[in-house]
């Protein structure tokens, strides 16, 4: 009699526990279902960002092309946004961008590649462990600091040797931009070269080749796609770089090839016009977006090209 009531009591307790657990499980089931949705929404913010960029640039650029024909914009060699008979030709800006990029790559290309060769082929592990972090510091310095350096040190230095160079010119920011890009090319090229298997080096060395011959005839050809990709990324970086050229190259919109003169890049034009409080709705305000979309396409093509090269031409060992 007493025993059966005890069993009954126990059974009630267990059924309570089961009910409680079920409730708990429902809560955690709810969590399991809601969390992935929340995370998915967070992940889609990156897609929203892309859409936002495209929408902003396109919608405002279309406004611009209503007043300035698209053909005139891309073939015009005169850029006079502020004058009475304003003219909007983007070629002076593209010219400035390309010239500063070429100067930067003439510095960063060879020096970056040779640094990569030293770090990957010649340097001992000890030396590498000191040099690499130091190069990374160079990559971590904000570009505004490089801009300051170009304007207050490199330009006066160049002018003390060649007095005919202007106080603002494209040469000095181009050179400093090159220094800024060295670590990027060095580390990407080095990655490409260190992933070449050692057996190939040893084969070459065993045949009697010197280290230099091995590097030039075996390692570099094997790592070529990675090296080219690093150059293309460097170019993309130079095209998008803003503060160095804005500070040190001035705002002359002349269409010239003289590197001792001031030239404006696409990025510097955006800073000048956006910072100049151009009233929203004016043609000059919309021109900002037309230039920006050109810049966006330039860098996007370069980035896609870099990815294509490193995927398509990679040699697998």
């Amino acid at each position: 009699m007493q025993r059966s009531s005890e069993v009954k009591h126990e059974a009630i307790r267990i059924s309570e526990i089961i009910a409680q657990n079920k409730q708990k499980k429902n809560v955690s089931n709810l969590f399991e279902k809601v969390i992935p949705t929340i995370l998915f929404l967070l992940a889609s913010i990156t897609i929203l960002t892309t859409l936002g960029i495209l929408y902003t640039l396109l919608s405002q650029a279309i406004q611009f092309f209503r007043t300035v024909p698209i053909w005139e914009f891309f073939t015009g060699t005169v850029l006079k946004p502020l004058s009475q008979n304003s003219e909007f030709g983007i070629l002076p800006l593209i010219n400035g961008t390309l010239i500063s990029t070429i100067i930067a790559m003439l510095v960063a290309g060879p020096i970056g590649l040779m640094s990569a060769i030293y770090l990957s082929e010649y340097a001992s592990e000890k030396v590498r462990r000191v040099l690499k972090p130091l190069l990374e510091i160079l990559a971590g310095i904000p570009t505004i600091v490089y801009g300051f350096f170009a304007f207050t040190f490199v330009t006066p230095l160049i002018r003390s040797i060649f007095p005919e160079v202007g106080a603002t010119n494209i040469l000095s920011p181009g050179l400093v931009m090159g220094v800024m890009i060295i670590p990027m090319i060095a580390s990407l090229s080095e990655d490409a070269m260190t992933s070449v298997p050692n057996a190939m080096r040893e084969g070459s060395l065993a045949m009697g080749a010197t280290k230099l011959e091995t590097t030039i005839k075996v390692v570099i050809p094997a790592a070529f796609s990675g090296i080219i990709a690093s150059f293309v990324l460097g170019i993309s970086r130079a095209i998008g770089e803003t503060m160095i050229v804005t500070i040190a190259s001035g705002s002359s919109k002349n269409f010239t090839f003289d590197i001792t003169e001031s030239m404006q890049t696409m990025t510097a034009y955006i800073v000048e016009v956006a910072g100049g409080e151009a009233a929203a709705g004016t043609t000059i305000y919309y021109s900002l977006y037309a230039v920006a979309i050109t810049l966006f396409v330039f860098t996007l093509v370069m980035n896609l090209l870099a990815r294509y090269i490193s995927r398509k031409f990679r040699e697998e060992y």
């Binding site: 967070l42 892309t50 304007f151 060095a186 998008g240 803003t242 800073v271």
Partner: protein
Amino acid sequence: MKQFDETQLKNRMNSRVRNNRIWKFIFLLSTLFGLFVLAVLMIRVAIDGLGFLNMDFLTGRLSTNPDRAGIMGALLGTVWVMLVVIPVTLIIGVGTAIYLELYAKNGKFKSFIETNISNLAGVPSIVYGLLGLTVFVRLMDFGNVVLAGGLTLSLLVLPILIVSAQEALRAVPGHLSEASYGMGATKWQTIRRVILPAALPSILTGSILSLSRAIGETAPLTVLGIPALLIPFPEGLLDTFTALPMQIYYWTLDSSLVAEYANLAAATIIVLLALLFLLNSVAIFIRNKFQQRY
């Protein structure tokens, strides 16, 4: 019968070895070139700036008079922007990384998001500035306030943080989560109690590094129209502000008018670099101290 000329062979060998040695030296010089420029830059900034760097400069208000000018406003502005960037990028960045690494199925959609993120990482920072100007400053009508600047910089560094958080999550070994599943834990319980804690040091390191990128960024702020005027110190998310890099920018530009502005810019650069150095040291400390090897 003479098979080869020994002296000729020796000469050729010698010149090949010499070539190797010469080029090794040239490669070394190239590597040192970047470091040489770094040293010149640092020394130059130190010479220009150290004389102007004192307590009054750090705590003073902005002034057109170089002797009285201070950067308290810019420092506070940078701190306020950081207070926006840190939570926004951590929540969105880590959330996205968890979704991509642990929930999304391998396939078209996942690779679409990942391609999109790597493309975003290559977009010039000034384009983000235009996005911020159009969406945050004008469309949402925040004006050029802390919130608009912080959100713009958050979007800018988000791709970097997502990629590093993904790497951190991927580095957590599978047997930890398998043990957790084996004990009957659900997926979210496993993520929250096992995977995230294990990946936390790497995630923090990555987020500090992307934060230091945001602090030094200038171009988007110039587009947002961040002033360097005698504005009051920012006290909230909806106050106008200026930041350290903007201060450097304006002082550098005006250094052709007032020579001392170059010194003020250099002193501000020292403060900015010191801040970045501090952040990076913290990141390295966390990485060395808390990261576990499995």
